[in-house]
Amino acid sequence: MLASKKALRQSLPWSYIISTVIALAVIATVLNFVNFKAIAALDFTVVYQYRYTFLWAIGTTLGITSTAIVIGLIVGIVLAVLIIQGPRPVRMVVTAYVEIWRNTPLIVQLFWVHFAMPVVTGVNTTALQSGLIAMTMQSAAYLTDIARTGILAVPKGQYEAAEALGLPTWSKWVDIILPQALRIVIPPLATIAVGFFKASAILSLLSVGELMTQTKNIATYTHKPIEVMTFVGLVYWALGYSFGSLAYKLEDILGSDQRARR
């Protein structure tokens, strides 16, 4: 990878001039459309004014995301074990569930849970409940796949060793396989978690009450959409970025840990 970057750089000396011209042209075109009077009149005190609402909303977003991930992980592990070991009909049902929830948009799932599911179950859910259910069901589907990959990545010798020791099935999974699989899946799990944190903004389409819902409310109420939405964009960016770097760190630590153990 790194070496090919160097090979690549040799290829590009003349293009710096052209690229600079293109960059300036793009910037000039955008600036040409900017209404500078509006920018001069921006008033970010509105953010401070609604700080408690924002904090509460950020908390709600984080709460929804982590609930969906934690429950989804537990369900996902169970489903992954079923896909690997369950009887054929069970495997097919679980696979169908995973494929359906991975291959439809969250927003459709959200509306389906909120508007269509009550017709089947007869139970009406609040917007927040619907949001939680949809997010959890989708995270379960994604995490089943990840858990499955993790479990299959555990070397076959470990299964054989567990069986040779005569361990009962549950102990084989809980003591031997899952702890090792969990290590492998932590990096992709972190990526998924960041993805779900971002995706939770979709819940605002049902006015679930998380960060983006409140953002729209405050923006409409104060007539200051630029200040409010730019601020919230920064919040999403900063939180997502810190989770992302945290995931990299975790990957580093786990990676070096494994190298050390070898």
């Binding site: 290829s11 960059a23 991975r102 927003i107 389906w112 939770s200 903004a201």
Partner: protein, 220 residues
Amino acid sequence: MNSDWSILYQYRYEILGGLWTTIALVGLALVSGYIVGALACCGKLMRTGPLYWLSTFYINTFRALPETVLVFWIYFCGPFIFTAAPSAWQTGVISMSLVAGAYFAEIARAGIQSVSRGQWEAARAVGLSEFWVWIDVIIPQAVRAMLPSSALLVTQLVKMSGLVSAIGVTELIYQAQTLGSLSFRYFEFFTAVAVLYFILIFPFSMASRFIEAHMRQQIG
């Protein structure tokens, strides 16, 4: 539970219209995303200079922000900040194109950097000029490496397209909501729409998985 599926047939033109809008949105976003993304990828490959900084800023911003925030930002803030006020449809196309471009730039960069150093050296050693090194050796191999993630990008864009219902673009979800509230037949409409999305998305994720497995087999 009593369901009445004939209502779908009754409103088939509205549903098909929504489907068409969704496909058009994704198609337009893909085409302009490829163009913007290729440019941003070139910027990234420069490794310094104004186009590199601009591309890095663009890619990082549009990949990190939730798509919902982007759509609302462009729709609600656009008219104030810019001298041009995009319509709902334009907002949908612009925001989806920008997101597609940011992701495609990264896909293309990863594809180009996946071509090994030995290929660059061999291409130069046989006496090809830089132009033909790119055209004959690097790009064909990079495009192959990009196929799985490009297919996933399509699924991601189809999924994103539902968001622009929130600003009033009459794609699938907007139609399902409107028709559902008119007839109180949410179950039928949302189930039908979910099936349509699945039909749009599933082939691309299968293709991605298939190509990836195929390529791994060829290498291994």
